[in-house]
């Protein structure tokens, strides 16, 4: 756990007509980058002012050398400010935080992402590729994404199975229908997933029925990021868990999915 003043490298905005847009932000933070593992996160102070007040948690999209890369969507005040960073600015980064994915060695693994939930799974996919563990990546979106982003993903992940709600790219439907269709052809040895709660819940029930081990990366409101404030708890089957410290990655069976 390191508090580091990072320098902002480049920022790319992936947007074309009719696409969901994503930002790809590079931070020069050598000390954090050295330690970070797939599934861990960082907390970023988006403004030096007091509004927004809290740091923002981001799963690490990728690490390379001295760089930490984040992939995010603009969803509020903090990400809105961040989207204006052009490079050269300094920003306070706290990380790497939390427990990452426990890597399962059996092949093939399925990596199932919903929307911006792709962030921690890209880092994981790159690690699995490095270790020679076969995997299939499945990404569900509301609508299509820019070609530039797809090219970047393909570099490390190979070909992705994509599902969009409006059918503008890949198969039409939710990512869960993609998972079921793929299951006709291939049985996964394990699943890692990150995305909206309803998606994770549906997948968790499906994986349990099919007896497939599954890990999920969760998100919630967070203040300290280091296990002190107890603000980020999530309901587990055996009581509350600190998402920032005991997670953000959990085994799906640890979580109480019914809310």
């Amino acid at each position: 756990m390191i508090l580091e003043t990072a320098k902002i490298g480049e920022q790319r905005h992936f947007i074309e007509e009719g696409t969901e847009d994503f930002y790809l932000l590079t931070l020069i933070a050598p000390n954090i980058a050295r330690e970070a593992k797939p599934g861990q996160f960082v907390m970023i102070k988006a403004s030096y002012t007091l509004d927004p007040f809290l740091r923002r948690p981001f799963s690490i999209f990728f690490c390379e050398g001295e760089k930490i890369v984040l992939l995010y969507k603009v969803v509020g005040k903090g990400t809105n400010l961040m989207s204006n960073w052009r490079g050269g600015e300094e920003v306070s980064v706290l990380g790497p935080l939390g427990k990452g994915f426990q890597i399962m060695a059996e092949c093939p693994q399925w990596l199932v992402a919903g929307g911006a939930g792709i962030a921690p799974l890209y880092f994981l996919g790159a690690e699995l590729a490095k270790r020679g563990i076969g995997f299939q990546f499945i990404w569900g979106l509301r609508y299509k994404v820019a070609q530039g982003l797809l090219d970047l993903l393909n570099e490390k992940l190979g070909s992705l199975v994509i599902y969009t709600e409006d059918g503008s790219m890949g198969g039409q439907g939710l990512v869960t229908s993609g998972v079921e269709a793929l299951y006709e052809k291939q049985k996964p040895a394990g699943i890692y997933a990150c995305g909206p709660w309803p998606m994770l819940k549906a997948l968790a029930f499906w994986a349990k029925k099919e007896n497939i081990p599954m890990q999920v990366s969760l998100e919630t409101q967070m203040a300290c990021g280091i296990g002190a404030c107890l603000g980020c708890i999530v309901e587990g089957k055996d009581g509350y868990k600190k998402l920032c410290q005991q997670g953000p990655v959990f085994k799906a069976e640890e979580i109480k999915w019914e809310r």
Binding site: R55, T220, C224, G225, I226, C229, I233, Y240
Partner: protein, 304 residues
């Protein structure tokens, strides 16, 4: 210029500097140990501690507001016995004062906590009176001077440690409450606790907090807290610890100039885990710049 004195006395409690970290946001101190040198702090006020472990409120427990934070943690804590066994030994390794914040739901619980903690080697107690009294149907202790006096007296009778009563801002007359605590034997008062508050998600029409209501903290509170500190110091002769929205050394100095003997930093630890150290350095640099040798010359120096 010679050495600058930052040491202060808050009643019987001697601090090497007036900067404490507040109960709650700072957990049990150990969480921040990898990020700051705890030895530099004037003191650590430990997370609110009850007789038995407390599970806390259902999520969501946090909601951000402009320049502040709503929380409804629900006083989750591991209970006093586990605190003494598992958390206190670590804290004792540091050259800083350990103040344990205690809360209960009856006067007997407060008294029992004071007795259990009396000889554990901690340096002071902070008494959170912002809890409902289950024996009188849930009236909050903090709003009634008589109940505040009873708790204070019960705690002081069971401990030789300095006792500070942490006051809620949701009262008609903060001076009357502080006076009740003082007359009952408190060494001082600390204020303010978070302000009762809530938020609503207009898309779902649900409360932003799982508990519906919670407490507001952060810099948006600071002017209110500062005025309450002022009300007490100009009306009563009682040591005050100022709390509320301190994010830098200037905020801390405002409280000290008004008359607080020490300050606590809470939510600001979230945005900057090193804020407390920076505040200490900032105060020292300020004194050097103004050629003031002793922090005590700043305390209560408000020019009116």
């Amino acid at each position: 210029m010679g050495k600058i004195n930052l040491a202060v006395k808050v009643g019987r409690l001697k601090l090497k500097n007036p900067v404490l970290v507040a109960s709650g946001p700072f957990g049990y101190g150990e969480e921040y140990a990898p990020l700051i040198d705890l030895n530099q702090l004037g003191g650590i006020v430990v997370k609110g501690t009850s007789l038995k472990p407390k599970i806390g409120n259902p999520p969501p427990r946090l909601a951000e507001v402009s320049c502040g934070l709503l929380n409804a943690i629900g006083l989750e804590n591991i209970g006093v016995e586990q605190f003494i066994q598992e958390k206190l030994p670590f804290l004792k390794k540091f050259d800083t004062k350990i103040i344990v914040n205690i809360f209960g739901f009856s006067i007997d619980e407060y008294a029992a906590l004071a007795e259990i903690l009396d000889t554990t080697g901690i340096d002071a107690l902070e008494v959170n009176v912002s809890c409902p009294n289950i024996k009188t149907g849930g009236e909050v202790f903090a709003t009634d001077p008589k109940m505040v006096a009873q708790i204070t007296q019960a705690v002081c009778q069971r401990t030789h440690l300095p006792v500070f009563v942490k006051l809620s801002p949701q009262v008609t007359d903060i001076v009357a409450i502080a006076k009740a605590a003082m007359d009952a034997g408190a060494d001082g008062v600390s204020l303010i606790n978070s302000f009762p508050a809530m938020g609503v998600d207009v898309f779902t029409r649900k409360p932003k907090l799982g508990n519906i209501t919670g407490g507001l903290s952060g810099p948006c509170l600071k002017p209110i807290a500062l005025k309450m500190v002022w009300d007490i110091v100009r009306n009563l002769n009682i040591p005050v610890i100022g709390i509320g929205g301190i994010t830098n050394f200037e905020d801390a100095l405002e409280y000290l100039i008004v008359g607080a003997k020490a300050i606590q930093i809470g939510s600001a630890n979230f945005l900057n885990p090193q804020v407390s150290i920076e505040v200490i350095k900032g105060i020292k640099a300020y004194l050097e710049r103004h050629e003031i040798k002793d922090i005590n010359m700043i305390i209560g120096s408000l020019k009116t």
